[in-house]
């Protein structure tokens, strides 16, 4: 087992290296001169040339990459062109809202989708199953922002239950924090619920067909126990896996949701940085998100050891 963990840990290194290369190339190979952008609209050619040298943009691309990586390894993502502060500080400032939104969404999604998927599998082929499958396809098909506008219009404007926008830090009090998160999280969780419910249902159907379920039922165990303790426990691996895949989906959703609900998180930062051609910030944020994605999937792989002791490595 420890060997598996060690091997899995080591396998993330090449992935991270390739991510770094891709992120670096993504921006270096695009048109547009970072120096000209940084210099502002009234800069002369000489000033731009000076800035180019100070940024190290005059060096060969391999050297630039080396410098860049050595900075990253020291935890230095450079300074934002547009926001004029360190990218690491910027990410730190924007982390809380995104983290709150993402974890809240995840909690809602899992709490809603897993029971739905279990029930659908239990009543496989019945009306509930059909309805859920219908909903899940629908959930994949509605653009997040349309859903957001509709929810805001109904829940906030017509019913007046929740704020229409904004984010309150958890330090400003728990209730305001929660109130501001509910609507964005629900918006974002729909596609996630659709995805997890589908996978839960599918893996439950498979698990329910196994021999040990028949054995458990034959032993006269209560149906709820059979469903949860036996079937769901055995269907856990694909469910946990799909949550990992969904992290990428979640990051995409965060970008849109934060824009509509005016949440100053990392998603908004990405859009702002891209529109402002803020190269260090774009690189920093993409690198950060990729890192999170790799780590989450690492943790999920490692968690198989817990969820499915039968897996031998």
């Amino acid at each position: 087992m420890y060997k598996f963990i060690a091997r899995r840990l080591l396998s993330t290194i090449p992935v991270l290296v390739i991510v770094a290369v891709l992120v670096f190339l993504l921006l270096r190979l695009t048109p547009g001169d970072p120096a000209a952008i940084l210099a502002g609209d009234a800069a002369s050619r000489d000033q731009i040339a000076q800035i180019r040298i100070s940024l190290g943009l005059d060096k060969p691309i391999i050297v630039q990459f080396g410098i860049w990586v050595s900075h990253i390894l020291r935890g230095d993502l450079g300074e934002s062109f547009y926001f004029k502060i360190k990218v690491t500080d910027l990410i730190a400032q924007r982390l809380e809202p995104t983290l709150a939104l993402a974890s809240f969404t995840l909690v809602i999604a899992v709490l809603v989708s897993v029971p739905l998927g279990v029930i659908a599998a239990w009543r496989f082929g019945g009306w509930f199953d059909r309805a859920l499958m219908g909903f899940s396809v629908l959930g994949f098909s509605i653009p997040v922002f349309v859903l957001a506008y509709i929810l805001i219009w109904i829940v906030s404007l017509k019913l007046g239950w929740l704020p229409v926008q904004g984010y309150k830090r958890i330090g400003d009090g728990f209730w305001p924090f929660l109130r501001h998160l509910i609507l964005p999280s629900i918006t974002l969780s729909v596609i996630y619920i659709a995805l997890i419910a589908r996978v839960t249902r599918a893996s439950m159907i498979e698990a329910l067909g196994e021999d040990y379920i028949r054995t458990a039922r034959a032993k006269g165990l209560p149906e709820s126990r059979v469903l949860i303790a036996h079937a769901l426990a055995n269907a856990a691996v694909p469910i946990v896996t799909v949550i990992g895949i969904g992290v990428a989906l979640l990051i995409g959703g965060v970008v849109v949701t934060e824009s509509v609900y005016a949440i100053p998180g990392l998603g908004r930062l990405t859009v702002d940085a891209v529109l402002a051609r803020d190269f260090p910030t774009i690189q920093g944020v993409i690198l950060f998100f990729s890192f999170v994605y790799v780590v989450v999937n690492l943790l999920i792989d490692l968690s198989y050891v817990i969820f499915d002791p039968r897996i031998r490595y």
């Binding site: 906030s156 404007l157 229409v164 926008q165 904004g166 728990f174 509509v260 005016a262 949440i263 051609r277």
Partner: protein, 527 residues
């Protein structure tokens, strides 16, 4: 029972938290949605209007411009001009102090003017007249000029970018091409550096030691009295529909520039009002690049001018009838130098004439590369209208969409359009930036040496402007301004496209908004 009690305790705890502990301590908070993001905190380094507005929060100025475009003293108490017009002596009023408690002295003033004079266009012109700036006493400074200059007060009281804000000497000595990092001013608000989160929010608290002038506030002049304890700029709320929703629900107090499409909704919402704080408003213009075909020929530029019906632009872009009007003057209307000279080509614009002019100009079908910004709602429809009108007149148009950042860096390129250059773009100016021939960047006609993009080359305009700068008599200046405009229309420097206002939307409890060419938050009361 125990679990019940525990729930009750928890609920009470939530309720207590819900009361937001900060609310009592903060007092009155004005929550503003500014028109753009605040990223640069040095209003001398950049001309960005957000940075200018930030400057007005925390700095004070020597002179100001009132709501009727008259220059009035602000930090200055009294001043005199010598008979030969070459020595100006200014005395500061008493009670001026920076946020750190230090008094404002003439040395701070001179250092600030010097830095501003390196960056600002009008400041640079003023500095060509200045021989020396002296500080005979802590409350007195003297401008010694080489020759009489007609726009000393106009420059010092300049209401819009770059505004000669007065900073402490240690800050003003920063290299003008580097940004400052010490935000100590002497204005009515103090910047909370520790609460500033770019792209999220900027916070200002009341400067309790600020001594306002006695006169009522008007424009950037008069008593800057502060009636709220804290102003919060919400920099995260950018989606126009979300802005309207937030105002409707009272989650914010003021929207600086609602999208034009939002006014219909805003007028229907109870508890929300629309108020125009800038009666002089903005002027739209489309700019030609005089370096490259087809707009290197005056005849072609004038054919485009003839096609540009201002009403078409204004109706599509602004749409709300009472918020726009056509205006033939390049110096904006209802201002001292407003004139109709030379504007017939546009005022009587019609398609048939445009087609004739274009045919006569020998236009060979070279496509016009027209740059369109996709992320600036206030101007992004202009290029579409221009394209349609020009196509109707017989032009070939290549409408290229890009974000404003890209447009800004591309418009600085003098290369031909095929090599990354351009032929035309459209933009908007606040009236004070263009109401004088000296400050109107579009009338810098020094060819490739011109400071603004498009590089028209017309020595006659430059010569008239030089005369204008030296002229002290208002009547003669007006005449010169009219001549400059007539020549500019004949040359086809740019196309003025009419004027608009972009009123603020605010909660009904908010009163006392100052009228003027900027977004100022003194004098505002919140019930």
């Amino acid at each position: 029972m125990i679990s019940f009690r525990r729930i009750a305790v928890l609920a009470a705890a939530f309720a207590a938290m819900g009361a937001s502990p900060g609310a009592f301590a903060q007092g009155k908070v004005l929550r503003v949605v500014p028109h753009s993001n605040l990223s640069i905190l040095d209003p001398i380094w950049t001309t960005a209007y957000m940075s200018r507005n930030h400057g007005y929060m925390i700095y004070d100025t020597l002179f100001g411009t009132d709501a009727k475009a008259r220059i009035k003293p602000q930090m200055v108490d009294t001043w005199t001009m010598s008979k030969d017009g070459k020595t100006w002596t200014f005395k500061l009023r008493t009670g001026l102090a920076f946020h750190d408690g230090a008094p404002v002295t003439s040395e701070d003033v001179v250092a600030s003017l010097k830095r501003w004079g390196r960056r600002d266009a009008l400041g640079q012109q003023l500095m060509t007249f200045v021989e020396e700036m002296e500080t005979p006493a802590p409350d007195t400074f003297v401008l010694k000029l080489k020759e009489p200059c007609g726009f000393v007060l106009e420059a010092l009281g300049k209401p819009s970018s770059n505004v000669p804000f007065i900073m402490p000497k240690r800050v003003a000595e920063t290299d003008p091409f580097k940004q400052i990092d010490d935000y100590t001013g002497s204005g009515p608000y103090i910047f909370k550096k520790d609460e500033f989160k770019p792209g999220d929010r900027a916070v200002y608290i009341k400067n309790t030691k600020y001594v306002p002038r006695k006169e009522p506030a008007s424009g950037t002049t008069g008593g800057k009295r502060v009636y709220v304890d804290r102003v919060e700029w919400n920099l995260a709320l950018r989606d126009p529909q979300s802005q309207v929703n937030a105002l409707a629900k009272g989650e914010v107090d003021i929207l600086e520039r609602p999208a034009f499409e939002s006014y219909g909704q805003l007028k229907e919402i109870k508890g929300v009002e629309v108020f125009n704080r800038d009666p002089m408003g903005f002027q739209y213009m489309c700019r030609f690049n005089a370096l490259h075909p087809p707009f290197d020929k005056a005849a072609v530029r004038r054919a485009a001018l003839a096609a540009f019906r201002q009403e078409a632009f204004l109706q599509a872009q602004v749409g709300v009838k009472e918020y726009y009007h056509t205006c033939p003057s390049m110096f904006t209307c209802n201002t001292p130098y407003a004139t109709t000279a030379g504007s017939e080509i546009m005022a009587k614009s019609n398609m048939r004439k445009a087609r004739e002019l274009l045919k006569a100009s020998g236009y060979d079908g070279t496509p016009v590369v027209l740059m369109k910004p996709t992320d600036l709602a206030a101007i992004q429809k202009l290029p579409d209208v221009a394209a349609q009108l020009m196509r109707q007149a017989g032009f070939k148009v290549d409408l290229q969409a890009m974000d404003w950042q890209t447009l800004v860096s591309r418009r600085a390129k003098k290369d031909p359009p095929s090599q990354g250059g351009w032929n035309m773009f459209c933009t908007a100016w606040v009236a004070p930036d263009i109401w004088s021939p000296l400050s109107n960047a579009a009338l810098d006609t020094k060819g490739e040496k011109a400071s603004w993009f498009g590089w028209p080359d017309d020595p006659k305009i430059e010569q008239l402007k030089a005369q204008f700068a030296r002229e002290l008599d208002l009547g003669k200046r007006k005449k010169l301004a009219a001549e400059i405009q007539a020549e500019a229309f004949a040359y086809g420097t740019h196309a003025p496209l009419g004027e608009y206002i972009n009123p603020v939307a605010l909660r009904t409890g908010i009163t006392g908004l100052v009228v003027g060419p900027g977004d100022f938050y003194w004098n505002v009361k919140k019930n």
